[in-house]
Symmetry: C2
Subunit: 212 residues, 2 copies
DNA sequence: CCCGCCTTTGACCATTTGGTCAAGACGAGC
DNA sequence: GCTCGTCTTGACCAAATGGTCAAAGGCGGG
């Protein structure tokens, strides 16, 4: 029962606590994603959450605490698509599916993507330990899987790490640089995500399929 | 002589003015790139420039003026590699060379890349007009060139816009997400840029080369 | 209906921040 | 070495910002 061994004990007891912490985190996501940590203010978050500033600080001890809570939840969500990549599946399909899953995340969760982008661009001051830790571990593991596929000639011979980086880059780009893309394509609705899906499917299929 | 028609008249008259405005812009680049516009402070910039805060404001009327001056210079530099893409050159080589040129920029000018990234991620509040303007125009023009190459079967049939986006994404990623990449690869020196060059060369060559 | 606890907030505080100002330092031409 | 315009800065200001606190509001169990 006592899982107090973990540093984080986010235990919303009452339902009102649960509701409010969620409201706050959602508002914080919105604001942090748009302005970055230093650029965001408690007043903005409070207003977005529909609560008073002292009330925010009743649920979270400080601004950084809100940000940290957000990043903790985020990193897990963020890595899930990569975790799902199955060493026993069809190699090309697994990697392509991973890329398309990430693209889908850019469409569905652009705020989370931008929050992450802000944090990394500014030097990852709050999550560098996690990058060196669980992120690196997961990537190393999956890079090994990909290397295995290459060794058995199931996919073309390419650097697994740079492959993963390119998937991150090309998919997250559609969330992080959204304004730029919309400024250039001027898409009706989100049609550019459909054309992006076709493009990325084609791209990764072509580089991965072995030449023979 | 009187080029007063242009809104911007950055005319450093004396050499000391020229030197100081340059010093300030360099310091501002450093600070804005790391903290974003709102996260950066005049004191930080002043300290980085080795000048007093009032002295900054002697050369630039305000914080936003510094940022604007920086973005003005930057956008031109940023688009140069794409401008150089020659409609009369060898299609595959032209595009691959463009990608590698952009990668080189990520290596040589990471601060500029991150400044740009910060601005776009946060919704491009200060340069949206330029995105819709000269950036879109240039991209449209080059997309037409690429479409021409596709029509004459010089390269494979892929969406020109998404191709350009993917080049931006995969190359700028090495500057913008630098900490993440270093956290994962732990490269000695900048060796990962060399492996990235090989990877991207291979990648774009393979998707562009027509199947036949 | 009342008690005690969870929740909410107006008023307040210290610090930071963008920006001003007036006075002083400096430097090039005479 | 004097003068005038350029350059530099310490002191200052008003607004914004992260955070505190005491008091009040609300709500469930007896």
């Amino acid at each position: 029962m006592e899982s107090r061994l973990h540093k984080k004990a986010p235990k919303p007891r009452t339902r009102i606590q649960k509701k409010n912490t969620e409201t706050i985190l959602d508002a914080a996501l919105e604001v942090f994603a748009q302005h970055g940590f230093r650029g965001a203010t408690l007043d903005q978050i409070a207003k977005a959450a529909g609560l008073s500033k002292p009330n925010l600080l009743y649920y979270f001890p400080s601004k950084v605490a809100i940000h940290r809570a957000l990043m903790d939840v985020l990193l897990k969500t963020w890595l899930d698509p990569l975790r799902e990549m199955d060493a026993n599946g069809d190699p090309v399909e697994e990697i392509v599916a991973y890329a398309l899953r990430k693209l889908e995340m850019s469409r569905e969760m652009p705020r989370e993507s931008r929050l992450f982008a802000n944090e990394i661009v500014q030097g990852a001051p709050n999550i560098y330990d996690k990058i060196e830790g669980e992120l690196k571990d997961l990537v190393d593991e999956k890079a090994r899987v990909i290397s295995g596929w290459i060794a058995q000639s199931s996919i073309a011979d390419i650097d697994p790490y740079h492959l993963i980086f390119s998937i991150w880059a090309t998919t997250q780009h559609y969330a992080d640089f959204d304004v730029q893309i919309r400024g250039i394509l001027r898409p009706e609705e989100d049609t550019h995500f459909d054309t992006a899906r076709v493009f990325l499917d084609q791209l990764y299929r072509r580089i991965l399929t072995p030449l023979n």
